[in-house]
Each structure stands twice: as C-alpha cells, then as structure tokens.
Symmetry: C2
C-alpha cells in the first residue's frame, strides 16, 4: 500500500496547526476512497462506523423523513470533515452523502476519533466550532423559511451557493456544482415548478443565466435586493 502524503490533509482547518508528525500519525490510520459521481459515502440510517474528510469534489447531503419528503441539508466542500456521527453521539448517519461530482475522500474508523481527540485536543475544539457554525447556519435557515417567501429564499440560496462554489467567468459567477431545479427546491422548501418559473423570470430580467443543472449569477446586486426585500 502506498503511503499517503501529509499535504493531503495539511489544508483542512480541522488539522490546522498540527505538526508534520501529527499529520503523518493521523494519516496512517486513514483509508482513501474514490467516490464517482452519484455514489454515496454513507446513507441515512446506516450504522455510523466511520468519519470522513473530503479531499476533492463535492458531496450533497440529503435528509428524508418518514413520509418520504426530502431536503438538501448542505454541500460538502473539499477540506470539510463529514459523517462525524460518533462525535455527536449518533449511532446512525442522520443523512445521506452523495457525490455531486467525482470525488475523493479519506475515512477513519470511529475508534480513531477517541484516540485522535485525546492525542490532539485542538481537533475537538475545531470540531465543536464547525458544529457550532453549522448549527447557526441551520437556525438561520429556519428563520429564512419562517419569514421569507419563496422568491426571497431561492435568491438567498443561489447567492449562498455562488459564494460557496462560485467561479468567475466572463458572463458572471458560475455555480460550479451540477444544480438542478429539484436541488434548489429541496434547499428552499419550494417545488421544482416554482423554482423553474422563478429562474425563468430572473433570466428574462437578466439577473441570471441558466441551463440544464447550471446556474450563472449575472447580477448579484439584483438578487441580493430580492433576497432582502421582495418589493
């Protein structure tokens, strides 16, 4: 088995500030895995036996309820840790993580978690902070759902994605993840029909430019205005 180079994880905030030896130690317990587009790292309800770090690509995390309704919880970006169910005391994964594009991840067995945070306490602090940030985000989303209408919510979601996964092009900011109308609907609590209608209207006004699973933001200002205060 070829050794993994420590540069793989040096960029992850969770491991920031650790010594090269520590990184090597951490890496020595990791397993690398390829996740071709469409494949899942784990599924909701499965026993949570490993945790992960995304090296490359993007994952989509979804959550489904008893009635079969689904939401898109978040996109995972490179250097994000995910599936840390053990840390939060969950025995099963609370969602499903699917590769939105061909991706590459490291994974560790759950048993490594306890050892690692004992050896590197900063890891626990970082994990808690990222959990806290996600809690804030999720609470903001509740506030958004409770107080904004659909058009405002879609605008907010698109702007957020543009910030998280935007790539500048000559036409505007391209959201660099395959993003269907259905995805946007599951992010905003709308139907794909309404999302489609809304994007069409925006396209007519020159705010965005979109195609099959593709959205380009042309007028960030305009969208921000809609997100804040639908006139």
């Amino acid at each position: 088995m070829s050794r993994l180079d420590r540069s793989l994880i040096a960029g992850a905030p969770a491991f920031a500030g650790l010594s090269p030896e520590a990184l090597d130690d951490i890496l020595s317990r990791a397993q690398i895995m390829r996740l071709p587009k469409g494949e899942t790292a784990f599924r909701q309800g499965e026993p949570a036996d490993r945790f992960f770090l995304l090296l490359h690509g993007r994952l989509r995390v979804t959550r489904i309820n008893a009635e079969g309704a689904q939401i898109l919880v978040r996109f995972i970006a490179p250097n994000d840790m995910f599936g840390v169910a053990m840390a939060i005391g969950a025995v099963t994964y609370p969602g499903t993580a699917t590769a939105a594009v061909d991706s590459l991840a490291l994974s560790w067995p759950n048993a490594a978690w306890t050892n690692l945070i004992a050896a590197y306490p900063s890891l626990a602090v970082k994990a808690m902070q990222s959990l806290g940030a996600r809690l804030q985000d999720t609470q903001d989303r509740v506030l958004d759902l409770a107080t904004h209408n659909v058009e405002q919510r879609i605008a907010g979601a698109v702007l957020k994605l543009a910030r998280q996964a935007g790539r500048k092009t000559e036409e505007g900011v391209l959201i660099d993840i395959p993003l269907s109308r259905q995805d946007l609907a599951e992010m905003t609590g709308a139907t794909l029909h309404t999302v489609s209608r809304t994007l069409s209207a925006w396209e007519a006004k020159g705010l965005v430019d979109c195609g099959r699973r593709r959205v380009v933001v042309r007028d960030e200002q305009g969208l921000t205005a809609i997100a804040k205060h639908a006139e």
Copy 2:
C-alpha cells in the same frame, strides 16, 4: 459569600460521572443569578463573555433577523447548559435568552471553559453531543417547515412541548410554560392569527383545551394523527 452545594449541579448531564471534588471545583468558579420572569440572561449580539447552566425555571431563546422577524429557537429546561458561545467559536450571543418564568441559573466566565474542558475532558464530549442533538433537532425543524403545512407544524410543536414540559392533570397534559399564540407562531413559522384559528378549531373538536398563555392536550393521539398526515 455562601458556598454553593454540589447537589446543585449533580443532576446536569454535562457533569454526570464527575467526582464530588470535581463538582466542587467547578462550582467554586460559578456565580449564581436570579432571573425573574421577563429578565434576560443575555441578548443577541452582545459580546459573549459567560456561559450558563439553568438550575430552575424555563428560558425562552429567540433569534431575530435584520428585518426584525423573530423566531423562537428553543426552550431551555433545568440542567441544560446554554450560552456556550465560546465553545462554538462565537464572539457574540446568537440569540436572546429570556426567563419565561422566575428562574435560577449558574454562570461561569468564558475563561473557565478552556480550563474546565482541559481538566474534565468528558465535559467536552458531552458538550459536543448536546450540540449535535440540537443540530439534528434544528435540521428536523427545517424538514418540517419545508414539507408540512401550518396545522401539521402546530400539532408537532404542541406535542413536542407536551413531551418536554408536560404535566399530567385530570383534563390532559398541561404544557407547564406560559405559552402565547404568538410563541407558537414563532415556533412554527405561522402568524398568531392562524395559530389562534387552529387552536379554536381543535378546541371545538375536543383535541385541546386552552386559555390565555395556556394549552392542555386532551387527545394526544388525535394531534399525532394531524401532525403526521393532515387528511
């Protein structure tokens, strides 16, 4: 200054399993505070310099956005820790905690957090788990908002409150917190008008019995049916 007795915090899950000496040590750095009904432990946006443990009473945590829209984030029960902004790397409190009834809390300066988790690592683990549970809860709430209609959401909220703060009476399960229509509206993303109409309809059907800031669940089964599947 009178010493605080360790029995005060022995019941808190965060401190479960610690030795009496540890509890005394932790208590020695704490300050006790009375929170008469209506008073706040902290307000959203204030610099977060202390964290808390509720000893007695109930607190209501609210969060408000730039436009002035407000949601009720959660109720804090005795033995819950709250305001642990430092642990999650927040410099200001992300919400406002107000006493819903006369309450009693302990508080520690932020500086104590680092010392405490270093001395008692189980505290960090517990904190992470409770944070994880809250994240799960909040994500469920997003799913709820995105996929259920208002009546289902109100039913869900009432049932949850009955479980968290219910007290059996001869008429049914009384929710033992002053709970206005407005509160329920802020929990479910509805208007107080709609909440009022819904409760009136339920009262007519004998599902609940309610008055000023008071709700009694008479037919838990019936409410559960509504929450799951509005016919």
